[in-house]
Amino acid sequence: MKRFNKYAIYEVMAPLVGFAASMALLMLIVVIVGENPGNAVDAIWKMTFATSTRTATVLSTSVPLFLAGLAVAFAFRANIFNIGVEGQYFIGGLVGAMAGIYVPLPAFLHIPFVVIAAMIGGALWAAIPAALKVSRGIHEVITTIMFNNIALALVNYLVNGPMSGLGATGSLEPQTRHILPTALFGNIDWMFRAVGWNVPDSVYLDYSLPVAVLVGLLVWFILFRLRIGFDVRAVGTSTDVSLYAGIKVAKVQLGAFLFSGALAGLVGLQEIFAVRGYYTFQIASGLGFDGIAIALIGRNSPVGVAFAALLFAFLRQAGYGLQFFTKVPNSVISVITGLMILIIVVSNELVSRYIKALRKKEAM
């Protein structure tokens, strides 16, 4: 155990080195573009950690990223590559919004109800690819990509057609009717104040944050404290060994795929229930693909995914800061994000080679 700790230091080093190197590259690009690096750092600081309001924004930006990463990670744990988080959160959000628009309930029931509805919606959208995967061995990458495209067309149809709320809301942008006030995700400042932390009024965090924390804990508990989680991890490590050990691989993969879809269903809730208050097919897209990168950087563990999501949220806000206060374009952040992922994974590899070499030396 002691030896493990000694090497753990090196393992934590890899992401830090990756982050530092990519920040250095960012500064290099800033200089090339002809901006003062001091200004750039200042701009990033102003938009991220200068005030508690900004920090809360980073935290709140990380919520959908965390949920998307968690959804991808859970599937990866069972050796399933769920590229379909994208479509699953569009449908999950739609089903959640339907529960929020058409089902009147008292507030204390309504929020849990829409959360569960969104999870069911996401799981349903994963169901056909999951069934095709386990029953006919059809590669989930192909089916989930197809289902992403089908989902986009479907929500586009529903929002423009049967679920259109144009007359009711007076907006020109295609959208549904407004969600009932009882289902909206309000400000959670009262929770902080209840524990004696007097946050300023300008800090805005909504219910999606506690939902994400609870879901993160739930995933951790399932993966590392329940028998089913053990099965999932066993299947992810080796399907052959799992079969040999009597684990019902098909059932485990089906369950993991559906649960991944359920988690994906939550990704859009913040934007729909806290920001917009209605549903539209124009909610932020691409989070499913961010989720893949976040899951892999976070090494498919709930804690790792949380850190990776915070990192992505920080970068996103940093990009806005650069765009707002300097002449560095926002696109720099995509360049840096891509490079950072590559540097982190390459240094992970180099570190594990180094540890291997050290172990060999010690063994001799």
Binding site: V33, G137, V141, I142, I150, A153, S334, I341, V345, V346
Partner: protein, 291 residues
Amino acid sequence: MHWGTLFDYICKGLDTSAPLAFAALGGVFSEKSGVVNIALEGGMLFSAFSIVWGSIIFHSLWLGLLFAVVIGMAFAAIHAVVTITYKVNQIISGVALNILAEGIARFLSQNIFGQETQSAMNPYSFPSYRGMNVFSLVVIPVAILSWFVLNKTVFGLRLRSVGENPEAADTLGINVTLMRYSGVLISGAMCGLSAAVLYPSRWVSGMTGGRGFIALAAMIFGRWSPIGAVLASLLFGYADAARISFASSIQIPSQFVQMFPYVLAVVVLAGVVGRSRAPAADGIPYEKGED
């Protein structure tokens, strides 16, 4: 329906199929050598930017195309170094490269053309015949050549052997690393070719619209064979062209017409194709024998 309309449809379908087919062929080479390349999307996007950029710099479409192919290969080379030399997870590298491609193209566009989301107009383009970029036809010889190279040459045999059983190939003296680099670099060159059909007259951010992923699907659908991949691309391309050509004359909501190619793909896969098998060592980094 007039024969003329049908003929237009045949041409239009080839135009929408060709970028998918080039990219899918690239995917076949990469995955046959054992490297999953989900950076096809990024490669296509960056190449599409490069062909516009290169044509304007060199005042020649052919040099622009060459430039796009070189850039496509250089981009794929990053994937090769990271996944083959450093043995990093191939999916994470692909995801990172897709993010990177979008960022670099937008960054360069901002600095070269003064706009982040689109380039300047490209005055050079391949001639168009009934809505079809004539370069689309090049996909036919390229597909036949790919089939020949993979199945009838020593190089092809070696490439496939490192994707199926790298240990055995290594034992026989085949350079696994070299073969895998070749596979990935060819996929980059194919992304460059796809750019020649893809760009209309300028580069626009997000113009690939997930075509790299559809190409990946076509490759799997075509069971990792060059001819199969091209036929699957034609299926997707023609379904897409049907949407464009006939959407106005069909009495159902356009969104359902839009879904059609994807629903078709799932139904065909579920009903007809059955189990498809990837190359055995696809996605697995090769560790040269030690311990």
